[in-house]
Each structure stands twice: as structure tokens, then as C-alpha cells.
Assembly symmetry: D2
Homo-oligomer: 423 residues x 4
């Protein structure tokens, strides 16, 4: 309804959870190859290079305040050649995007809203206008956690031209997915609606469909319809890591945002910190590791993300993908709920028991989550929902057929989930 | 999806805009008769007695603080016999509801959440439990603008029994529509989720379908999905009267709430202060009058309410319904958009020009509103939306056929609207 | 400067910490006798009966919602005769006040702001006016934690007359100290300035000096000068109990409020939960006990209260006063700082070390507190302050003479204090 | 009490109200000369160069975003030689300060908190440390209305060294008064306590007494004692201009802040926009003009500032000082109240009538202000305060003797004041 692309929630891989600000071309290609080989048939398609690809010295998830960035003659950041060798000679991300496209996949990048501070202080040019970087920078607009950019003042002449010039470059590179950061909730200033409008217009005018993803969250729900109108996905939280408290918290957020899920507009629960993560990122104080989520927690996460229809951006290193994790990403029931579900919503929440329902053309879904730290029986009211499914039920995670009578005596593991579907 | 009733937005009449807290039985019957005769064929069906029907001395929209109320032996308020003679002998609203039903219409009442303070201080009984009024009253829960009730503490034993006893009585009377006040936004405490849950459960258990309407607004949007789950309609604002500033403001509210409009769940723009209003209500400082809205404003109001799919509760005295006002309530295009529309949403807002689009199985709708005080041309971007309608367009309010080229030179009146539909 | 009484910070005893809402006449008299015998010579003078003396059923610190209260014919609460036998025959607190006065002490009571709800619902009379209880009650004014009263609307005719009638009664009884509750920070509505003004005027007109104490806190500092103008003391916190976190927190509050300490106006750190407390009060979940504060914490508390010049209202049962506790209440240095200090203020705070200074005509004071959980050396900057004292120093709590050089190697106990004074 | 200097509220001249960001050396000298000649005998002593003296292109009160600033080799801003010719050859403000000192006056400058952004992006040195500008800049600290500086992170090594190096330079120049901006209320971040502490320490260590003035307001009253401890004056509002609404508003602010007025610590009502102002500043949208305040308003302003004991910094061009304005600055009664008053405070405020009282060793003061737009009688309660003065009264502004009986029939002009003093 809102756009002709991203009609179902996007699925892909993002470099942040494993490599922070420091991913290299070979790592991107290695992950893309694994996606093409192992996940593409299940609908996984986007390969996204996250923040700081323009910084030569980036070496972890930490930023280097006020450091020099790679930039072209028109105030546009370009890949650091030492990290992305194929970008040499002014080719930007085009060679890498071509390679990804060659695998039958799509290519995405992350940008910070705004214009480089170094461009403003050096007062460099903007392509397609007589205005310069200093003319369009917003005098009161920084990112509180990264010193690379100044915001752009949408009311100034040259502001749209600047974003148009960015999108022209990205379209030329072959970018299919654009994650813009410091914009959905900027911490210091709230939501930057002006720059979101500039970017929307620049994408619509660039001649290439490009999924627009807005970060970080929590995006304010008062702007829910604004996000629907301008973006394909927007974040519900700040960065998610592999700890239970954050996952617990996501249930409340999904419960509130379900009304905004729809064709082309996807509230975003953030990346999946599953499999092997943290190779060079320590954003939450941890190190290289297999996800700290228990298997029950992983099932709960995947069930919630899928039934809610969040975008799914895998954060682990696909080159190290194990069978268990792969099974989570390829389960046919979850895929059906995720790609074809409708009217998904929380219908019950009490005493840390949560029920979600959904349905596709193929079947109906009833998921019952136990958010407590102890095993728990299902709430009585689940029976009414199970009856809407009908006679025999299939429970997905145990992979067995059960009757409604069986459910009365069933337990849900701590932090776990049971997912009933019609047979 | 959320309930089996109120699948389309409810339409009816409510006594507040004309009679404040003081409506009488004969006035209700008079309005019901006019509805049956003149509007029923257009889908108008609910006849709702607003606040304070249990107060013998009520004479305007003003309340009498701490005054005595009519009550049965079980702490339940009953109609004041001097105002509702048919209720004599303990019959309550049953005779009046029967009369309304006899006209082929449905009957509704307004209640304040909670239990009468007089019941608490006198510690009277509650039907169906050993607990008394004093046992279930919330020690910290009043309405800041009306002294009739204390809130009920949902955590106390007897609380559900009390609401069950209320709904049993209302079901027995034949109530089809229940407007609960001081609950969606209580000013002093926010949204009373606990009492909403009690009421939902009591309705579901009372054996009679009953539309649940929650007041007053602004209902907080963070509770949007909570309202969807528990109610059929909930208010977006405090009381709406016939002044432009409030109507202007509604555009922003509808823009934010469009994602929550759906089958059985209706964000509510409040009653229509149209036709002859204010007979015995001075809530906004005015007197008996024809609505102060200009015709252009009335067209804008009806177009917005209809395309957004707000419930439509007429506030004027139907016994004085004039042809112009009646035409607003019976327009076939508005009725189609209102009853059959889908995906309605604001797609443009800038410089006080607002565009909404919707579509039904029968046709597509593009409404362009001019919220400024001067005539205005349509924004350029309207053309893209008109092209989605296709070749020839019908403009509803001028009732003529136009081409897209005509639109370029068209003007919208101040506070006015043009509504294009496919032919 | 602000009033001719309470020129130094008041000192006395209050029944709450030991007896909650349920103190009896004999307990009051017993404590008064002990005060007269043991503390009067050290400036202790007020004996204050705290909340709910008008409720016959009171038996702990818990309230009985909506219960009946003892009241005269003019909507004024009077003592429950079962608890205060001397009040029989309409004598009110006069006999008890006489007895206290007879011991050379002063008598105080606690009231809730407002007018009894039972008076409003029964619409009883007000002395000295044709207006009734219902006429002056504020329609939107309750206490969120006690159901006895409605607030009085200062804009209504009869409101001042009501408070005048209360003060006339209290003056007749011989009340010297009036603690008014639910007024300095009402939780639900902020500070009730209107009723504070009514009470100030009523006291000024009643013909008897009466210390005015406002509760609970935290009183908002934006109203600091308002409190100075209208009251003698006002609370900086909600109820203080014998746990370290609350005491820790008081340092920040005193630091902010020191500018408001002055002749007749005393920011109030709340009662001293020292000695034997909790006989019939469980407000913080505990039972009858000796204070849970360690001796170091008690020294810190007494030093802070004294140097800051908070009112000192002892909360323990004086009939069980032990020597240690008594020594805290009679220390000559603390008494001098408390009664004669000037320009007291925090001059240092870092890493949980806090320095306060003060001076009287007799001597200078430097107190250094260690709020951490480990022993700590004094901060370097203390030396500058000690040098303002001069050569030899007396340390109060260790009771010995030290040199500035000694201080360099001194430690302060966890939660403890050293207090240096000039010899 | 708090410092050995600024024992009475400072008085002087500041360049902002007349010259904005663009004052020149000759203008400063011209104003200093007039002060020496005409006001010095009345206690006026500080000559303060306001913001942007390091910017060569400054030409009004507007800032030039991201423009180049004059800076020494150690990241310290220095005067623009084109505007301050005597600063040539690296002499800084020393020659100008010498000239001002030569007239028997004191010299002051304005600075923005923080370190120049150009120093950070160029990563220049800091005097006295190996750390560089980039090392100490706070990654999230800008001024929302001026792009010159980044904040300094007090937790970083080198931060104190940087401020020490600034103060060493200013002490060397001979600065007597330091106005630091973007620090008392930074709009974006609240009060910058960390940098205030750095500056306090740097002043205390620089070997020269220097009055510390913190801007802009409104300084939060919760930090009142913090300001007392660290500064000599701090602003109660954002910039004050010559319009009644701002002056009206100041009465409420003074009423709240009176408890913080004391020896060495002065809540600051901002500069006096009197006489001829606006030569090259258009901060409030106006032009060169005589103050727009009426004479009554000017009397009210001078009476409030004097009795409250605000610092007095004249904003008009002293070279154009007229007799009327001069009379306001030299009135002996105001000077006495301002320099010698004590216990000044608002004692009454109702219906736009406000009474302040104060007293010096010499006499008592009762000022009654009429903030309404109509002439008004004095409130009854003024009599009690007049009686504290005693028999015969002198009214300052009408310059005549009156009796208390006369006062009963007196009127105060709209926006005007009567000021009674003991004879």
C-alpha cells in the first residue's frame, strides 16, 4: 500500500553485530557468499555494510572522535580504500555491489544523517548547486554519540540538492537498501522529520528502488504514521544485544506497534544477535562469542520477530553458521507467518504470559510465550484462541501434533515459547 | 477482526450536545422517532442517553457537586424517575430501550467509571458478593471534573463482581451501546486500564453484544493497541464543539491515528456538533443555536470523519433537523467511504493543505482540505493521487465532473474541502 | 526576620515514628513527662500528636479507608474519646494541652488539609458562616493516601471562615504547634498554595502564636520563598525511616536548601527515627525495634541535622530513652551549631565525601562526612577550612584535641563523620 | 561569605545591548571614559567586552556559523586585530585593560565555555600539557545558538590544564570580570556543572581576583547553592530587552531567588536596556533607539533591580547618556538599598500588586509595584509594612514626604512603582 517495494518484511545480513564499525570487503563478500549458498532460497537477500566504511582507522565498534574521513570533492563520504580495495580509483561501492548482485543478492549501506563536519569546516562544494557545505549545515544539530556529521537544515537552499547528490551516487553504485542512522530518535533532538523528508524525496527521485531503514530507536509512536509514509522500516529500540532483559522488553514494544505493520512499512525489532557474533564489536561489553541467548530464548526471539513481521537482519558471521542457527532462519512455519501473516497482534498479557495470534492464507498461528524465569502453564484463555484454529494442532518447536486437551497440561519453559499452528 | 460487532463505524445520536446532563425521556423519544423516520435507512441506529440520568436535579450541562443520586439496593445507579417516568417501579431503562428497539433502533447509555461515592460512604451492598462498596473503592481514584464516583480497584475482591452486576442490569434493560467516561484519559491518572479490563470482561460475560465506547480523550496513542483489544471506539480529544480551532486540530489527530482504524476498532473524533445544538448545554460558553461551523467547515468535518472512519454520533436535536444538515448525514459517497473504505490515510500535509486518500470496492477517494484562512490552490502532488483514480473525476461537494487538468486551476475555499471520487 | 516566633529551629517529640496513627493520651503524657525531666533543659519543648487522633478505630500506622471520624457540629474533627479520655464532654485537646503546658512544654497537633469528606457528603455546617461543608469543598482535591478529607477551595466564600473556625478551636485548646499534612507536596496536585495562604491568615488572626509545619516533602524548591513567607518549617522529603539510603539522600537535599535556612524559616529533614521506634507503626515494613541506624550513621544524622539547622523532632519513645541516644540529643556543640549557627553550607562534595561549615558567635564548625561504604581519608581541601578555625581543633565525636597535621592521616568511618570545632 | 570580592553587587557597562557581537576598541574606550567621568563616583566600575571579540567579520548581533576565529598557538582565542588594534603583536587585551585601569575602572570580557571547534578539527596544542584540543573536547557538547566552540569534558586529562591556560592568559591581560556564556543554562544540556568547576578552580589558581558571571538564564533554582559556591553572579533569564512582558516576568523570578542573594553571590536580572541601545544589535528585532520602556517602567526596573540587589550592568551607549537615564543610575536611595540592603524579599503579591521590603543600616524600604495596565490603589496590607518604617515617610520617585494616611488614597501608575523610605 505505501510503496511498491518491500511488500514483505526485508531479510538480510548486517555487519554491525560481528564487526562493529570495521568490517572489510572480504568479510562482506564471505558473508554474501554464504547467504547466496545457504539462505537465499529462504528469502534472505540483503547484504548491508554498517557504519563507518569511510573511516580508514576503524578497528572495532568504537568511534574515533573528530578523525579524518574519506570524502570526494563534493562533500560526499566514500569507502576507505584500505578496507574496501575495490573502491579504489573513485569507484566507490560499485564493484562490491556488482559482486553482491552477481550472487543474486541485494546490496545495502549505512549512513549517518547530515553532512561531514570536516566538509563544513573546510567549506567544500556540493554537487549540483552553488551552495557549499557551510551553507546547508544546521547550526544546532549533532549526533550525541558520533562526531562525523552535522545535521542538514531542511529549510536551507541546497539541502535537497545535497541529499539528491548522495542518492545519485548511491544509485550509481547500485545500492538497494539504505540504513540511515541518528534520525528516527536522535536522543538529543527527537525525530529528525525534516531530514527524513529530504531523504524520502531524494530516493523517490534517484531512479532506483531503495529500501529505507531508519535508526536508532525507540522511534516515537506518535510519529508512527509519519514513518509509514516515509520509510520502509524503523527501529523500535536502541541496539539489541543478546541479553534477556532487552528481549523481554521487546514484547511490550511489539505489542504497542502491531497496528503499524503493513505492506511496505515494517516496525523493526533490530538485528538478530544469533550465531557467532562480536568478532570485533564490544558494544555491550562482550567479546567474540556464540550468542548468549539460550535456545529457548532464541526460539522466543525468532517466533516474536516472525509473527510480528519485523524485518530480519542477521547479525552473526554467516561464515560460521551452525546447523541450529540455520534451522531458526529456515523454518517454514516462521517463514509463512513472517512473509504472509496478517492481523498479527498480542491478545493476552498477564503475569509474564503473552499470547500472539496471526494467520496466513495457509494457516492460523497461536504463540504463547513464558517471559518468567520459571516453567509455566498456559493461561486458560489460550483455549479460545486454539479453538479458532480448529481440531488438530501442530506445535512447531516440539514438532508434534497435540490436541487442545493436551495443552491444558502443557508447560512452557522459562523464557520459552510454544507455537501452535493449524495442520 | 477484533469483535464480531461494530464491524463498521457506529452511527447514532447522543444527547450531550443539545441537552447536557439533563435530557428527558420525551426528548430522547422525540429524537429516536426522527432518526427512525429520516436517517435509519442511511445506517443511523444508536440512540444514546448521555451523563447524569441518575440525577433528579440535573438541569443543564453543569454538575451538582456531591449531590444525591438515584441508586438501587446494590450500589447501582438507576434513572431519575422525574426525568424518565417509564423507569418507575424499578423498571430502569427497560421500557425506554424497548421503545427504541420498537422503532428498529438501538439503545445506549453513558456511565462514569467507578462506584458512587454515596455508596462507599454509606457502605452499601454489591450484588452477587459479600463485599461492599467500601471494600472495592480505590482509595486514590476520583474524577477531577465530577464528584459522583470513586474508581474501583481492580485488584480487590468484589471489583469484577460489581462490574458484572452493572452489565447484568444493563443487559436486562436492553442496552446496546455503553459509553464509559473518565476512563480513556482521566486527566488526573492517565488511562484506567484496570477498569477497562473489568468492563471488557463484564461485557463479554453479560450475554448481550454491547458496543463499548471510551471517553474522554485524548486517549494516549501508546495505548492504541490496548484500546483495539478492549473497546470498539475511543476518543481522540476532549469534547469537540463548533469552533474551528478544535476542528483544525482534529486533522493532526486523525493523521496520527489512521493505523488503528479497523474492523471493530474505531478511533473516535467525537460527536457532530451540527444542526441545532446547545438547547440546555453551555459547556463551551454558548447558548441554543444552529452550529457555528460555516458550511465549508461542515463539509470538511463530515469529509474527514467519513474518510477517516470515525464513529458518527450526531449531537444536534433531530426534531429540528434542516435539509442542509440532513444532506450531510445522507450523502452516498461519504457513506461509502465511511462504511466501506480501507487504507485511509493522510498522504500530504504542508502549509495547511492536507490530502487524504481512501478506497472502497466501489471507488477511490482523494480529499484535499484547505485549513488556511485564505482560498488556496491544490498542491502539485495531488495530481499523482488523482491519476490513481483514473480518467474522469467526480467532485462530490460541487457535484460535477472534472478533469485532472481542471484541478490545476481549482481553488479550495478557506477551511473547505474538495473531494474527488472515481466516476 | 519572617516571624516573631520559631526564631531558632524547633525541637520536640512526635508520636508517628513510634505509634503511627494510634497514639493514646497516656502515651503522650508519658513522653511529655520524660521530655520535661530529661530534655527540657536542652531546649526540647514541643509534644506533638500526629495524624488520626479523631479516628476511634486507629490501631497502627494504617488508615481505614472511608471510616467514620469524630466531628463536632461545625464540621471540625475532635479527638476520639476512647483514645483521649480527657477530651470527653466536648473539651477537645484542652485538658491534654493544659497538662503539657503544666510541665513547662508546648503542645502540638497534626491535621490533614481540608474538610472531612463525611461533612461534605452530609453537608454539615461551618461555624461563623451560612455556607456549608459542601459549599467550600474543592471538587477535585483529595489526598492520594488517606480518605478522610476533601480539599478546600480557597476561591469559595466560606473557605477562610472554615479555617478560621479551626484555628479558633485550636487556639482555644492551647495548641502551640500545627503540623499540616498533604499540603507541601500533595503528590497528586503539587503544592497547595491556596490552602497554605488560608491557614497562614487563620493563624495570624487566631490570637495565639503557633508554629506552622508543612508536610509531606519533597517540598519543591521553586516554592522556597513561598514557604519562607508562609510557614516556619517545611519538609524536604517524604517520611524518613532508619535506613541509610534515605539518610544518604538527605545530604543532597540539605545541600540545595541551605540558602533558605533563617530566622523563623526552617527547611525540615523530618523526624529523628532514633532510640526505640516502631511500637505500633510499620510504615516501612518493620517492627518495634531500636533504630537500625549504626552509631556512625546516628552521629552523621545528628551532625547534619544540627549544622544544617533542621527542626529536631524526636521519633523514639522517650519512656525508653537510653543513655547513648540521650547523649546525641544533649551534646553542647551540636546544640550551639543548631541554635546559634549561621551561614551553614556544604562547601565540598566529591566521591561521597562531603564537607559542611558553619559558625556561631562562640566557635566555628567543620564537619566532614564519609558517605561511602569504606573508611576514607579526608579530602585535601578540608585543610583550607580547618585553617579558618585556627590553631588547635577539638574533634567532637572522638572528644579530643587534634592538630591540622593530625587530620592528614585521619580516617572517617563508613557512613561516619568527624566534626572539628575551634577550642 | 562566599568570596572575598564582589561583596556588593557589581555595577558596570556591557557592550551587548548596543553593539551586539561587533563592538570596537574605540567604542569601548569611549564608554569607559564616560563611565569614569560621570558614574564612577556612584560605584560603577566594570567595563565589559561582550561576545565574539575574536571574530574579525562580526558586524552585528548575528553570528557567522563555522567562520574562522583568531586564535593563538595554544587553542586560545585572541582579539581580532581589525577591531581591537591595540591587541596587535600578540598583546591581547592587555593594552585595552591597561587603559581602562588607567581610568580607575575594571576590565571584563565575555567567553563561551569550551574550546574552539577549529582547534579541535585542526587538533592544535594546549599550553602546559601534552594533550591536544581533540583530546579534551566533549564529543557531545555544543552550544545550540553559536558554532564557535565544543564543550570541554571535565573528566579528561588536560581539561583543567586548558582552562588554567585560559585564565593565566586573562590574568596576564588584566581581566577583572569574566562572563562565561552557554553554561548556566545551556538549553540543550542544562547546567554545565563540570565546566563551571573547572573555571572556578582556574580562577582561584590564576593569582588575580576575577568576578565570575554565568550566562545565560534561566539558571535552574535547584542549582542555586551550586551557583553560590562557584560564581559571583548568574542569570535568572534569557536576554532581557526593553519590553514589558519580560520585565513583568522578572518579578516572579526575583521573588523566587531572594533567598540566594548574599555577600559575594548575586542572582542576576541581566543588563539594563536603558538609554540609547541597539546601535548594531537587533537581537529582539529592533533598531537603534532610546529604550522603549516608559519612564514608569524604568522606575520599576531600577527599583526592582536595586532592592533585589541584582548586579547592574548598563547596556546603553554611555556616550549618549541623557540626564533622565543618568538620574536613574545615581539615585542615592537606590544605591543604598542596592549596596547595603539586607533581607530584601517579596512580602505580597496579588492581583498584579507586588510589595518588596528591605532595610539597610540607614533606613527601611517598602516598594509597591503595580504590574497591571491600569492605575491601582495600594493593597491594604502595605500599611503594616509602612508602620515598620515608622512615622514620616519619604516617597522616592515623587520626592515628597507622605503620611501613612496619605497612602490610603494614593494611586500607582500602570507598570509603575512607589518607593517609601524612612526619613
Amino acid at each position: 500500500m505505501f510503496r511498491s517495494y518491500a511488500q514483505t518484511p526485508p531479510k538480510g545480513w548486517n555487519s554491525w553485530d560481528s564487526f562493529g564499525a570495521s568490517v572489510t570487503e572480504s568479510e562482506v563478500l564471505g558473508n554474501a557468499e554464504m547467504m547466496a549458498k545457504s539462505l537465499k532460497d529462504y528469502g534472505w537477500e540483503y547484504v548491508v555494510v554498517d557504519i563507518q566504511w569511510y573511516e580508514p582507522r576503524a578497528d572495532s565498534c568504537a568511534y574515533h572522535p573528530f578523525t579524518e574521513l574519506r570524502q570526494d570533492n563534493y562533500s560526499r563520504l566514500i569507502p576507505a580504500e584500505n578496507r574496501f580495495p575495490s573502491s579504489r580509483g573513485g569507484q566507490g561501492f560499485k564493484p562490491l555491489a556488482d559482486a553482491v548482485h552477481g550472487m543474486g543478492l541485494n546490496f545495502g549501506i549505512h549512513i549517518m544523517r547530515g553532512i561531514p563536519r570536516q566538509a563544513v569546516h573546510n567549506n567544500t562544494k556540493i554537487w549540483g548547486t552553488q551552495k557549499t557545505a557551510r551553507d546547508i549545515a544546521d547550526e544546532n544539530s549533532i549526533c550525541p554519540w558520533n562526531t562525523d556529521m552535522y545535521g542538514v537544515d531542511a529549510s536551507k537552499e541546497g539541502a535537497q540538492a545535497y541529499y539528491d547528490s548522495l542518492l545519485a551516487l548511491y544509485a550509481d553504485w547500485g545500492v538497494d537498501f539504505l540504513k540511515v542512522d541518528d534520525i528516527a530518535d536522535s536522543k538529543l533532538y527527537g525525530t529528525h522529520t525534516g531530514e527524513i523528508e529530504l531523504i524520502r524525496k531524494a530516493i523517490d527521485g534517484c531512479g532506483r528502488p531503495m529500501v529505507l531503514s531508519l535508526s536508532p530507536g525507540p522511534a516515537p509512536i506518535e510519529f508512527g504514521t509519519f514513518f509509514q509514509r516515509h520509510a520502509n522500516m524503523w527501529r523500535l529500540t536502541d541496539d539489541l544485544w543478546d541479553n534477556w532483559n532487552q528481549l523481554y522488553d521487546m514484547f511490550g514494544r511489539c505489542g504497542k506497534w502491531s497496528a503499524f505493520v503493513g505492506s511496505g512499512t515494517w516496525p523493526d525489532c533490530d538485528m538478530l544477535p544469533l550465531g557467532h557474533i562480536g568478532t570485533r564489536t564490544v558494544a555491550d561489553g562482550s567479546e567474540a562469542r556464540m550468542t548468549r541467548f539460550t535456545k529457548d530464548e532464541q526460539r522466543s526471539l525468532m517466533t516474536l520477530w516472525s509473527i510480528f513481521r519485523s524485518p530480519l537482519m542477521f547479525g552473526g558471521d554467516l561464515r560460521k553458521l551452525d546447523d541450529w542457527t540455520r534451522s531458526l532462519l529456515t523454518d517454514p512455519y516462521l517463514i509463512d507467518a513472517h512473509q504472509n501473516g496478517r492481523d498479527a497482534r498480542e491478545v493476552y498479557r498477564k503475569d509474564d504470559l503473552v499470547i500472539w495470534v496471526s494467520e496466513s492464507d495457509a494457516r492460523k498461528y497461536v504463540a504463547c510465550f513464558n517471559l518468567s524465569d520459571d516453567p509455566a502453564r498456559l493461561p486458560e484463555s489460550v483455549e479460545g484462541w486454539l479453538r479458532t484454529i480448529g481440531g488438530d494442532l501442530h506445535e512447531v518447536w516440539e514438532n508434534r501434533t497435540v490436541s487442545i486437551a493436551d495443552v491444558e497440561t502443557a508447560f512452557i519453559a522459562p523464557h520459552g515459547v510454544v507455537l501452535y499452528v493449524s495442520k
